[in-house]
């Protein structure tokens, strides 16, 4: 079992790299690091495709399309990050999410109102 990992070392490296990218994408709290994770993950997939390395054009086409898609996703994510930074002054997603939403304020207002009514009745 283990020697197969060495024979297909490109694929093994690609899988490990994409795992690193995925954990970064999901677990990093800093938005820029999240986006770097996304790029690592997608580059690992291109490595996986490139390791095929023969004259068949299909993997190259897939890698090219993937590069374009990753580029546009990155650009979009960076634009969103910029917007979040302008709004909340932080790149940390937890801190940005901590800011009270309108929905929560509405709910709190309802609870307060209900409590007041209870006191008076």
């Amino acid at each position: 079992m283990l020697e197969r990992l060495f024979i297909n070392h490109y694929q093994t490296a690609a899988v490990i790299l994409s795992g690193i990218g995925l954990t970064n994408l999901l677990l990093q709290r800093n938005l820029i690091k999240k986006i770097i994770g996304l790029n690592i993950m997608n580059s690992a997939i291109f490595l996986f495709l490139a390791a095929k390395g023969n004259i068949n054009p299909l993997p190259s086409v897939m890698a090219l399309a993937g590069i374009v898609i990753t580029l546009s996703l990155t650009a979009f994510a960076l634009a969103l990050t910029l917007k979040i930074y302008e709004d909340s002054g932080t790149l940390n997603i937890d801190e940005a999410l901590l800011k009270k939403t309108k929905e929560q304020e509405e709910l709190e207002a309802i609870i307060e109102q209900a409590e007041e009514e209870e006191i008076f009745s």
Binding site: L26, K52, N56, A77
Partner: protein, 501 residues
């Protein structure tokens, strides 16, 4: 013989929508011209799909055809494939999209700034094009491209409302969605390495050869699992659905209807096609993926309803109810018989039309209450916007599975499909428990909306709904009753389509 133009309809509909996506940002902004254009194009594509459906079914036998794009034949070039099932799904997707655009025409004007509305229309067209491409595609490369187009367009639609909360929920949606697409592309790469093809039929042949030689079974099941999890993340199946309510609550009414009614359905249909065309149902059974999907579907039905019960916010409630309904669809797929998959497809159609109606109705009611979304604030809103109230009631009855409403048809067919299956007890128990729980959270919502509330009525600012809203809601209601009362011919058509998939 079929009219030769009918063969071009799958390509023409995708092309028209993409063309509209390019043209709309160039149009002048006055009179809301871009929005009208996108409504017209979606309507036109709906008519074309109806024509395709008619041509495919009017010759006694159902006919499927492959349409190759460009100059290269199947294993290398990309291909579209259309049959009765694809045509009927495309038709209902277009109708639901059109109605959610027209129904929310005026609320879109309130929610989105004029200069962003143009881009919004362009993205809606792009999203529709990607949905149709996912419906018609016959190779995984096209599927991958359009999954990604769908991701970007859906993210941008979530971000349409220009406020900090919407931006934050877009970021969350994007992270989840990109994770899903990464798993999908990895699965596609693995399958390509194993089979050497991207076209679905050729892949199927190669996979069958691998299985009969009993080689590479582990990589095959890994690829299948990655693909299923990736598409399940995108279609909001329970353990992967925690993003949906948080995203949904910050959406504009139109984006909410589109996201929960349509975006997730394209991915589910892609999963059905991959199960049916690439792997084949016997191999899915051999790799135990049907049992896994069945269990996740059951879990999704129950847990989605439990979460919906606890919600005080109507939009979150509708979102959790979507998770439960997606569970029904996956339950049908998990039965792994053609009857089960036909029932799942019927539920895709039913849910696409009912959920867009519910979202439009919930949006109308919350606008009538002065943009409040808490259930308490909606008291008595029925008497301000009666059409929205009717939509909510019909949608709620449909979700509970009251006869004559759309949800009854799909629940009945799911029940029938599970009869000759070994999971029958689980499936029936799940359907029963979930239906009761749907009633437990929808009935109070209906009661709240119907309760007279004289004090609060002075706060309500909204006037009577515009004519377009009433017309759209009328069509929604008509569609709902059509699906509930006359589903037998539709189900027969879907079964034929599934057998020809």
């Amino acid at each position: 013989m079929m009219n030769s133009f009918a063969f071009n309809i799958p390509f023409v509909s995708i092309f028209l929508l993409m063309l509209a996506a390019i043209v709309t940002p160039l149009l002048p902004k006055r009179n809301r011209l871009p929005e009208k254009l996108s409504c017209c194009v979606v309507g036109l594509v709906a008519i074309l799909s109806a024509w395709l459906l008619y041509s495919l079914t009017s010759y006694g036998q159902s006919l499927t055809f492959n349409y190759s794009m460009g100059h290269y034949p199947a294993p290398w070039g990309s291909e579209l494939r259309a049959g009765p099932l694809e045509a009927v799904l495309a038709l209902f997707f277009c109708v639901a999209m059109l109605l959610s655009l027209t129904g929310n025409f005026s609320s879109t004007a309130e929610d989105i700034a004029p200069d962003r509305r143009q881009i919004f229309c362009s993205l809606v067209n792009l999203l529709m094009a990607s949905l149709l491409a996912l419906t018609y595609t016959n190779d995984l490369f096209t599927a991958y491209i359009f999954v990604e187009i769908n991701t970007i367009a859906a993210c941008a639609i979530v971000a349409a409302k220009d406020d900090p909360e919407a931006t934050r929920s877009t970021m969350r949606y994007m992270v989840i969605s990109v994770t899903g697409s990464a798993l999908i592309i990895f699965a596609i790469c693995l399958l390509y390495e194993l089979t050497g093809y991207l076209s679905m039929q050729h892949m199927n042949g190669a996979i069958r050869a691998l299985v009969s030689a009993k080689s590479y079974l582990l990589p095959l099941s890994v690829a299948l699992a990655l693909m299923t999890v990736g598409l399940a993340i995108k279609s909001a199946l329970y353990p992967f659905a925690l993003w949906l309510p948080d995203v949904y609550v910050n959406l504009t009414n139109a984006s909410g209807a589109i996201l929960s009614g349509l975006v997730i359905k394209g991915h589910i249909f892609l999963l059905i096609k991959i199960f049916y065309r690439v792997f084949g149902l016997d191999l899915i059974h051999m790799l135990h993926m049907d049992t896994a999907i069945f269990i996740l579907g059951l879990l999704s039905m129950i847990v989605g309803s439990v979460h919906a019960l606890r919600e005080m916010n109507i939009k979150r409630m509708v979102a959790w109810s979507s998770v439960a309904q997606v569970g029904y669809i996956f339950l049908g797929i998990g039965l792994n018989t053609s009857a089960g998959i036909a029932a799942a497809c019927l539920h895709i159609i039913v849910h696409a039309s009912v959920k867009t109606m519910l979202s439009t109705a919930a949006g109308g009611l919350s606008n009538a209450a002065g943009h409040k979304k808490g259930l308490h604030a909606l008291m008595g809103t029925f008497y301000i916007n009666r059409w929205a109230g009717l939509g909510l009631i019909a949608g709620a009855f449909s979700m509970m599975g009251i006869p004559a409403f759309a949800g009854f048809a799909s629940k009945l067919s799911l029940t029938m499909a599970s009869f000759d299956h070994s999971f029958i007890v689980w499936s029936l128990a799940g359907l029963a428990v979930s239906s009761v729980m749907n009633a437990l959270y929808y009935v109070p919502a209906v009661i709240v909306v119907l309760t007279h509330n004289k004090e609060a009525r002075e706060d309500f600012t909204a006037s009577a709904p515009p004519t377009l809203y009433k017309v759209s809601m009328f069509v929604f209601l008509a569609l709902n009753f059509y699906l509930g009362l006359f589903c037998v011919p539709l189900l027969r058509l879907i079964t034929r389509g599934v057998n020809a998939l």
